[in-house]
Amino acid sequence: MTNKVQVVVIGGGATGTGILRDLALRGIDSLLVEQNDLATGTSGRFHGLLHSGARYVVKDLHSAEECIQENIILKEIAPDCIEDTGGMFIATKNDDLSYVNQWLEGCEKAGINTGEVSAQELLKEEPALTPDIVKAYYVPDAAVDGFTLAAANVLSANKAGAQVKTYTKVVGFKLEQNKVRGVYLQNKRTGKEELVGCDYVINAGGAWAGQIAALAGQNINISPDKGVLVIFNHRITNRVLNHLRPPGDGDIFVPHGSVTVFGTTSRLTSSPDDNEATRGEVLELLAEGSNLVPDLKEMRLIRAFAGVRPIYQPEGGEVGREATRDFTLIDHSRFTGLQGMVSVVGGKLTTFRLMAKVAVDMVAGRLGIDKPCITHLEKIYAPVPRNGAKPGEYLCQCEMVTKKMLDQAVLEKEQFSLSDVRRLTRLGMGPCQGTFCTFRAAGYYHESRGLKVKAANKLLKDHIEERWKGSKAVLWGQQAQEAQLTRGIYLGLLNLERLDSDRHDV
């Protein structure tokens, strides 16, 4: 590969991959670098709600309008990434009903269709809901898969000639005369560093954008705001469930394929890397969620995690949930005179395409390219399609993952972890959390990819460790049992933990 591109995009989340695609479709030679795998930042640690905007209509009408516009576009162009579940807002007898009217007005203004439904009728379709519903409305919410979305953006961008380097971290910038000339990259696996020259850098580092900008001596005031989410073993409701009240903790349930993602919270934290959910936070969430789904505490949790919102504060004003979710495009030349770098911060996953468009419009203009944005016109596709498999072909029965999908997930990858594979296929995301499929996948890849046996062992162990970490905050009830079964299999039955210790002296 060449050592010079026109634009380097930093960050492989929804925003960065959206930007890369937009650049590529306008014929701009670009490279995206991501320190881990795609969508391992906030775009893989979020709620998975393709907002209709209804959540924001009272507080932030502008944001709501952007959401509904993008909602409509994305449903059209990214069907592989979106499950059009529909959504609902319900108010219970304990809620303030005056808010309902405000909310209805806001939806009207933002152009979000709402349809009222009687409690009785809704309960027939969604029997898990509390019988205490007093008002209920349907909205055009949907579920979106951040992993697939980032991968699909990249697939589309690749086709148009863009390049991507994952597990590659930006460690510095080459600056000349207050202009960015290149970025220093470090391969996280080999430790090797390289310089890639460029005309422009777009910093789409999300919650890390401040850290990245600092490498170029720039100051962006981002307060990391942690949100905890939990995953339930089954689909509790068929539609996205929102609590019809001023936005707060624990008021959204998003059905994702066979599971439900529930959350979230909003707490200022010290670091964008603080993505651990604690037992206490999970219990608080459950208490809150029980108002909408009374049996919640009896349902099986399979995982808990947290994501960090990149909340941008121009003047250090408001923080936390009250802050605006609108995104900001920072043209560093206007603040410090540094040429060749813009940062995109804030926003929502739902509006990633719009953010990309705004950023690329500016950068393209600076580069003297006047091609318009066409990202809303062309469809994007998942690299590993989920359909078409027949019984008898599954390696993971919980989530119906086939050997063919495993092959597709690692196409052209020299190195990969099972977590990388999981993000594209859902391998190990079901109730057993990898108990059965991890061994199978390791055995399968060992042979099909000709892996060294130590590499296969590592693949296997790393994935088991990773799944263990994510379930620690919810290890009670059935998931504690599942963990013991996993230990029984990998320690008791397979004796995996001694495999790489020294040979037995026999």
Binding site: H234, Q478, Q481, L485
Partner: protein
């Protein structure tokens, strides 16, 4: 979703213990088994909004509803619950549907047959009838004889009241069971009445006619509850009827009513055991017999009260076996495409019986009896019919 029994899919750890206990898996490899058809696929069915069944769901037709998976599960999952529910959603071939309907409604057959027993019995032997049965997909096997007999009941009012629910098999095919049960109950000091209720609905449940079964269940529940209010206990002698009233009804009509009902349903020998009454005297024991525990008795969680009595009173050497399913599962073994499978499932039981060299097999379930007689040629009797002979003569 997410209510009560539905939710127990959350308890599945995918250990496949249930899979190893399924008699259909053991004899028909293409059958995906309780773990996959039950909790595993149910999650994915929910993900599809519970609407369109999977292609693989067709296999549900092969589940015999024996419930061995339910009791095997170490984690309280009841795969058969999902099987029943989803079987009802299958479309299936229309011819089989017609045949299943006939079999599910054997009560009507039975009724007509028992009013004119000779005709039905003749008809079933008659080649043409057999041929037409073959055409609708009913296996060429012996059908139960239909018999009619008047039951003698004492009119005396007593404090202890029993409503005896005989079920289809005893009512139409072996009324002597009814007489035996009535005699035993009376000997225990009960005032007995015969239940005016129709079929319990088991055949409909296992043929996927859930809606109809539900209606029947509702009707029956109301009848039973009226009696229960008057202080009656509901007594059954057929394991499948008993299980249906205790468990299936609670699934079909979850709520207070079915809970009140199930608390008052008793197997004849279960109540004797509970009350500690022994109206029998142990004279002249039968030397040797084999007691087959019906799957649906095992699933009731009451142990083997009849066998314990038989052992104490009537049989010197009683082999009590619960390892095998006889394979008939109500109307299942009457279906042409399942006949061979049904006999294969029963194979180990038949072999065990033959090897035990017993002159007599005892079991509580009418269709188990048919299957065992068909598979072994050994006489099979209901425990009530045996034990009746040991009632103390003073009564």
């Amino acid at each position: 979703m997410s209510k009560g029994d539905e939710r127990n899919l959350d308890h599945c750890l995918k250990c496949s213990t249930c899979h190893t206990q399924c008699p259909v898996v053991a004899n028909y490899l293409a059958f995906p088994g309780p773990k996959q058809l039950g909790p595993e696929l149910e999650r994915l069915r929910l993900a599809r909004g519970g609407k369109a069944p999977f292609e693989i769901d067709e296999a549900l037709n092969y589940c015999t509803n024996c419930k061995r998976c339910d009791i095997a599960c170490p984690h309280g999952v009841k795969p058969s619950y999902y099987n029943i529910k989803n079987k009802a959603k299958l479309k299936g071939k229309s011819l089989n549907k017609f045949r299943d309907w006939i079999l599910a409604h054997n009560v009507w057959w039975g009724k007509i047959g028992s009013q004119i027993p000779s005709l039905t019995n003749f008809g079933l032997k008659f080649p043409l009838t057999r041929l037409s049965m073959g055409l609708v997909g009913v296996a060429n096997r012996h059908f139960p004889k239909y018999e009619k007999k008047k039951v003698i009941i004492s009119k005396e009012k007593k404090e202890k009241k029993a409503l005896y629910y005989a079920g289809c098999y005893a009512s139409y095919n072996e009324p002597q069971i009814i007489q035996a049960a009535v005699n035993i109950l009376e000997a225990c000091g009960y005032q007995v009445e015969l239940a005016p209720a129709a079929c319990c609905g088991t055949p409909m449940v296992s043929n996927g006619l859930l809606e109809e079964a539900g209606k029947l269940a509702e009707k029956n529940t109301d009848i039973f509850l009226k009696y229960i209010q008057q202080g009656f206990k509901i007594i059954t002698t057929c394991s499948s009827c008993g299980l249906a009233l205790k468990e299936e009804y609670a699934h079909m009509l979850p709520g207070e009513k079915s809970n009140r009902l199930r608390k008052n349903i008793w197997d004849l020998f279960e109540i004797l055991d509970e009350e500690g009454i022994l109206p029998f005297s142990s004279s002249q024991k039968i030397a040797k017999a084999y007691y087959h525990v019906p799957c649906h008795l095992k699933a009731q969680g009451i142990g083997v009260p009849a066998a314990n009595l038989l052992k104490a009173i009537a049989i010197k050497e009683l082999i009590i076996e619960d390892s095998y399913c006889c394979g008939i599962s109500g109307t299942y073994g009457f279906k042409k495409e399942k006949y061979a499978l049904s006999m294969a499932i029963g194979g180990p039981l038949f072999q065990d019986i033959k090897e035990s060299q017993v002159p007599l097999v005892i079991t509580d379930c009418g269709t188990c009896k048919l299957q065992i007689e068909h598979g072994t040629g050994v006489t099979v009797n209901h425990p009530a019919v045996i034990l009746e002979n040991y009632l103390k003569k003073t009564q």
